[in-house]
């Protein structure tokens, strides 16, 4: 029985809400952490893991699986509950986030986390690794796709643009880059720190097929991933306009929630908001 579009979107909304709750639970266990950039990317991760990507939680290293590189590794508080929801490990483990000898720290470690395809944390590394994965797939006649999630501030790193050139040069239409355009880096707005606009034009000039979407609108995210690759022979870039801190009003669009304390009061407030149906837009 195939799922209707309404059913699909309702299911994804439930997942996205659970993921956001998981972000807050993980960061509450940690005491503090990257709230803003984890919440902004929750919808993209949700669609990837519960609609788009092929993987097998019982066989995390399945060679034909689609790959995800969380190049903005500081959003590991979002990846951690996503992989739990996807069945790679027990959801209770999310509560060990940042605790002594936990598999889950501020940044993902592929040697410790089942389902994690790449260790990241230092910004600007992920796209190069994604290019290698996509090239590896093509050389070995494998059909898997590689998805790389980058921060907008992360695009200040020159290494990203070296990889952007390489992906176009090699015609990697099995590679999908996603930019989490939440408009902030660590200390301020990207356009006040080191401007990156006009961003879509930049990626186009580097040889990528680009689409701009509302990255917190599940329907748009679904349709965009379904449409990739947009152009045969070109790497795909999804410029996902998002709200930093999305889903927790206190944190939304606020630079000081890039990294914040998540005590019991904050956790309760966030969970209450996430469970209130009015917020599930």
């Amino acid at each position: 029985m195939s799922e209707s579009r309404e059913e699909l979107l309702a299911r994804l909304l439930d997942r996205a809400t659970a993921v956001r709750a998981g972000v807050m639970v993980a960061l509450n266990a940690a005491g503090s952490g990257h709230v803003g950039g984890s919440m902004s990317i929750a919808d993209v991760l949700t669609v990837l893991y519960f609609h788009t990507m092929r993987y097998d939680p019982k066989n995390p290293r399945w060679p034909d699986r689609d790959r995800l590189v969380l190049s903005k590794g500081h959003a590991n508080a979002a990846l951690t509950p996503v992989l739990a929801e996807a069945g790679f490990y027990d959801k209770e483990l999310v509560k060990t986030f940042n605790k002594l000898n936990s598999p889950f720290g501020m940044h993902p470690d592929m040697r410790k986390i089942p389902g994690c395809d790449m260790s990241t944390g230092a910004l600007g590394h992920g796209l190069a690794v994604g290019v290698g994965m996509a090239l590896g797939a093509r050389l070995q006649n494998k059909g898997f796709r590689t998805y790389v999630i980058m921060g907008d501030g992360e695009l200040n790193e020159g290494s990203i643009w070296e990889s952007a050139m390489a992906a176009a040069r090699f015609g990697l239409d099995n590679l999908v880059g996603i930019v989490d355009r939440n408009r902030f880096c660590l200390g301020s707005a990207t356009e006040d720190t080191m401007p990156i606009e006009p961003l879509a034009d930049k990626w186009r000039a580097f040889g990528w097929a680009v689409r701009e979407i509302d990255g917190n609108d599940l329907a748009q995210v679904v349709d965009t991933f379904d449409a990739a690759p947009f152009v045969e022979g070109k790497p795909t870039l999804i410029l996902a306009h998002t709200v930093k801190g999305k889903g927790f009003s206190r944190a939304e669009d606020r630079c000081d929630w890039h990294y914040q304390t998540v005590n019991e009061e904050v956790l309760e407030a966030a969970l209450a908001e996430l469970q209130a149906p009015g917020q599930r837009s």
Binding site: N98, L100, M106, H107, G153, L186, M194
Partner: protein, 320 residues
């Protein structure tokens, strides 16, 4: 050998704050001082300088290689750049810019790193710098400084302003560190600061391991063992004379550092001893592993980077 585990009620202050306060004074007195960062404005504490001198402060965004290259260019025009970011990104990430554009050229750039060692404990190995001293020890022309607390950080920052040439200052992380609280003593680039006299062995420590070394020496004194303690805040150029003197006078050496046991302070001291006075020596540090996740104090305890760890290392060298 019962030892108390750090931390105690010791007053605290960030090494970052000591740096930031000194930079403010240096910048007031010297219009050539320029501060740069890569989206780590507040954490690196150049915010104090920036408030007074916004026209001499630059944030290049999250682009550390660019940061060091720009600093080299500024220095080539006679300015005195202080660049700040996280230790791993100023060294491992941008090592070639640091080596070629700053050290090879000999430009007067002060590379001021926060979050040295495992200060961002929960950040994992991408955010740890337990190899920075090893990298820099192998690069000619650079002075390498590791303050033990906020006071040393302040004094070393003031000293490096008077000390032209490439310099690396390795500071701690977000959480304020305990102050040594032992009163005023001279802190001079290139000279070990002797913090305690002793005749039975010498503990040579840097950074976060200086305070545990002092505590260990105190515990040892209770057992009639007199340990000399040196704060080796200058890893390069190393104070060979103080090391040779310690080896001759105390016959045994222990080193202690928040760094891989390979290539850091321990290695530097061993190189000196091997060629001069090869006395028994033991090294305390991280034993060539990528550290696990956990709170900073938990990791200090796990890797024995505490008073107990210094005492264990002392015991080993006394039995050697």
């Amino acid at each position: 050998m019962a030892a108390t585990q750090t931390p105690t009620s010791q007053p605290t202050k960030s090494t970052r704050d000591g740096f930031g306060e000194a930079l403010l004074e240096i910048g007031r007195a010297n219009p050539n001082v320029v501060a740069l960062t890569a989206d780590t404005f507040t954490l690196s504490r150049i915010d104090m300088f920036a408030k007074e001198h916004p026209e001499r402060t630059f944030d290049v965004g999250i682009a550390e290689q660019n940061l060091l290259g720009i600093a080299a260019g500024l220095a080539s025009t006679g300015l005195e750049p202080y660049v700040t970011s996280y230790a791993p990104f100023l060294t491992a990430r941008s090592l070639e810019q640091l080596r070629n554009d700053i050290c090879y050229t000999g430009f007067n750039v002060k590379v001021c790193a926060v979050c040295g060692g495992i200060a961002i404990s929960v950040g994992g190995s991408t955010h740890h710098a337990i190899d920075d001293l090893a990298f820099l020890r192998a690069i000619p022309n650079i002075t390498v400084l590791v303050p033990a607390d906020a006071v040393e950080s302040y004094k070393l920052t003031k000293a490096m302003a008077q000390h032209p040439g490439p310099t690396y200052l390795r500071m701690g992380g977000r959480a304020p560190e305990p102050l040594l609280g032992i009163g005023d003593y001279p802190v001079e680039i290139g000279k070990a600061s002797q913090l305690r006299e002793g005749k039975d062995l010498t503990i040579i420590a840097c950074g976060s391991l200086v305070l545990p070394s002092l505590r260990a020496a105190e515990a040892l004194a209770g057992e009639g063992i007199e340990a000399r303690v040196l704060s080796m805040h200058t890893i390069k150029p190393l104070d060979r004379d103080a090391i040779v003197k310690a080896a001759k006078e105390t016959k045994r050496i222990v080193t202690a550092e928040e760094h891989n046991v390979h290539g850091g302070l321990g290695g530097a001291v061993a190189e000196v001893l091997a060629e001069t006075v090869p006395v028994p020596m033991r090294m305390l540090g991280i034993k060539d592993v990528f550290a696990t996740i956990g709170g900073l104090q938990e990791l200090y305890d796990l890797y024995h980077l505490n008073t107990q760890g210094v005492l264990e290392t002392v015991k080993a060298v006394l039995e050697a």
